[in-house]
């Protein structure tokens, strides 16, 4: 047997390009199901863990999936907002903690998320560098956003205008980066966090400008009692600083300002049941359990995975047939060698053993390669795929 393995090895080594191609094809065939399983598992884990850690979510009635995807994973879905009053109302129930989530804007392609300070301990997010949000105009970056943008505490970041050609639209707001979060391998890594008021300022619902009372006559159009009407020369601030912080203000009733959703953290199980009962027949609001929504999504993914499995097995069969074809053609090309072996006195069994050893070495190498791939995927696959999901989002 040792001689057969030696001859097989020498043959495969001499034809290394062909051998490598066959081994890689077989490895892919064997490793693909492992990679797929790891991908599917990681995707589901990523979705499930986030959803399961969010007890309830309050939002506008409509697509529950869109609401979950936007509020939990920050994939912008143009979900109709609820209002600041809903946040206050939830707090007023005394049954739960309400954490507002305002999405919609972005900063250099990373989602801008307006929320309260409660969000960070709720998600278990810790500051890796810098400090927490303290005043308006500040932002804290997710680890991936910070790494990709190359930003850290002390740097600045502009919000992206929602419409490039909207000249009457909202000016970008310059945000001060005051902290970077530890990596959490979730959607938070790609977010730019600001407090709710900053998010509203970014949307143009609040603003800061030069004090009109002290403005010169070239700026004032009309003074009527306590009301001063200014013209376009009035300096508008696109950055919150210590000196202009007090000039930032909101017009109108803040309780009507938009909030994408409210993460509802009931104080106990009973409180959760009571709250759900209150919203069963709510005409314009829905209080849903994200885990339930993701579970139904996972069932769809599982169905898709089964279809993919069929595709993989079909490709695998084609690969196996190709392998057999290559081997048969190779043996035909080696007919002279086989004839020489026979003429010298080699038995058919020995010849088959040599050919078998060639197949065994290639299959063995492919299994080893696929196993390494499987082990690597098991070890790091989840992280890579979560990163992939994040980057692809």
């Amino acid at each position: 047997m040792r001689d057969s393995i030696y001859l097989a090895w020498r043959y495969l080594r001499h034809h290394r390009a062909k051998t490598l191609l066959l081994v890689l094809s077989l490895s892919l065939f064997l490793g693909l199901p492992l990679v797929m399983r790891a991908m599917s598992h990681a995707t589901q884990q990523s979705l499930v863990s986030r959803a399961e850690s969010t007890p309830l979510l309050l939002g506008k009635k409509g697509s529950s999936l869109d609401l979950v995807v936007e509020a939990l994973y920050f994939h912008l879905k143009d979900v109709e907002p609820i209002s600041g009053a809903d946040v206050d109302a939830m707090q007023a129930t005394g049954l739960a903690l309400g954490i507002p989530i305002r999405t919609g804007l972005s900063a250099r392609n990373f989602p801008l998320v307006g929320t309260s300070l409660d969000y960070f301990p709720f998600r278990g997010l810790r500051i890796a560098a810098g400090r927490e949000l303290a005043i308006m105009g500040e932002c804290v970056l997710g680890a991936e956003a910070a790494e990709t943008l190359g930003l850290g505490p002390g740097d600045a970041l502009l919000t992206s205008p929602s419409t490039l050609f909207d000249l009457a639209g909202v000016y970008p707001l310059k945000l001060h980066v005051i902290g970077v979060l530890e990596r959490s391998y979730g959607p938070d890594d790609e977010a730019v966090f600001v407090d709710l008021k900053t998010a509203w300022v970014g949307e143009g619902l609040g603003h800061g400008h030069q004090d009109v009372a002290r403005a010169g006559p070239d700026v004032v159009l009309k003074r009527q009692g306590g009301t001063v009407t200014a013209n376009a020369k009035l300096v508008q601030y696109n950055e919150v600083t210590e000196s202009n912080l007090d000039s930032f203000h909101f017009h109108g009733d803040r309780s009507t300002y938009p909030v994408t959703a409210v993460i509802v953290v009931p104080h106990d199980e009973k409180a959760g049941v009571l709250l759900r009962g209150r919203f069963i027949d709510a005409p314009t609001r829905q209080l849903l359990r994200p885990a339930q929504v993701v579970d139904s999504l996972n069932k769809q993914i599982f169905r898709f995975e089964r279809v993919l499995q069929i595709v993989v097995w079909t490709v695998g069969l084609a690969t196996a047939l190709m392998f057999v074809l290559v081997m048969v053609l190779s043996w035909r090309l080696r007919a002279e060698e086989l004839r020489t072996m026979t003429r010298l006195g080699c038995s058919r069994w020995k010849a088959a053993q040599i050919m078998g050893a060639e197949i065994a070495i290639m299959v063995g190498a492919s299994i080893a390669l696929a196993a390494i791939l499987g082990i690597v995927m098991a070890q790091y696959g989840e992280t890579w795929i979560q990163n992939l999901i994040l980057r692809g989002s």
Partner: protein, 229 residues
């Protein structure tokens, strides 16, 4: 080996052979090649020279008659026994050399030892192969693959492969057919020298009648008989 000197190493009596699907047949009433002899088999193409070598080595079995090689009735052996007999008793040299490109010269020489469990590849065999290679002027070429060797060098590797098992009989099928005259002479001289040194019987198929005077016996397939030169 000494036991065969003066005795017949090859003996065919009333042999009749037909290929199952072809019209070719070979009849040999009597053929004897004594031990230690250099014999040549001649005849036009299609006269059955290669078939004769196949019958002697047991690659083919006659329809009738007796084929005795080195004292063994080859025609009576099973297929497995004939293979075993062939690889341990006979060395082959082919016109096309039939070396394996994926093996270097040394591995090509040792190739028979990789093919049959009755041949054991050990240090003494390796050292014999090295000596043989050195005798044939191949000492510095042992790590080269056939494509890196000249025609003459390849034929010398093929001769070394035929001799490495210390066979009692060498069957050479037009071994110089692909060589230029100078290389041909060198290869033949080496083959004769090695066979003589080991008292190995040589039966060589050739078309080159100019070589016949170097053989003690000539087997003319066309005449279906033997003639002493």
């Amino acid at each position: 080996m000494l036991g065969y000197i003066g005795r017949a190493v090859i003996s065919l009596v009333d042999v009749q052979f037909d290929y199952p699907h072809g019209g070719f047949s070979l009849d040999v009433a009597q053929l004897t090649v004594p031990s230690g002899t250099r014999a040549a088999a001649i005849g036009p193409s299609g006269s059955g020279k290669t078939t004769l070598l196949n019958l002697i080595s047991g690659i083919e079995r006659p329809g009738s008659g007796e084929v005795t090689t080195t004292g063994v009735r080859v025609d009576r052996l099973s297929s497995a026994a004939r293979r075993s007999f062939r690889i341990t008793t006979i060395g082959f040299v082919f016109q096309e050399f039939l070396l394996l490109e994926y093996l270097d010269a040394l591995d090509n020489i040792l190739y028979p030892y990789r093919l049959h469990p009755e041949l054991h590849l050990d240090a003494s065999v390796r050292s014999r192969a090295q000596r043989l290679a050195s005798d044939l002027g191949l000492a510095k070429l042992l790590d080269r693959h056939p494509s890196e060797l000249s025609q003459g060098e390849r034929q010398r590797v093929a001769i070394a492969r035929a001799l490495v098992t210390a066979p009692k009989l060498i069957l050479a099928d037009e071994p110089t057919g692909n060589l230029d005259p100078a290389t041909k002479k060198q290869a033949l001289d080496l083959l004769f020298e090695q066979c003589d040194a080991r008292s190995t019987t040589l039966l060589m198929v050739t078309h080159d009648h100019g070589l016949l005077e170097q053989f003690a016996q000539v087997v003319d397939l066309e005449a279906l008989g033997t003639a002493e030169v």
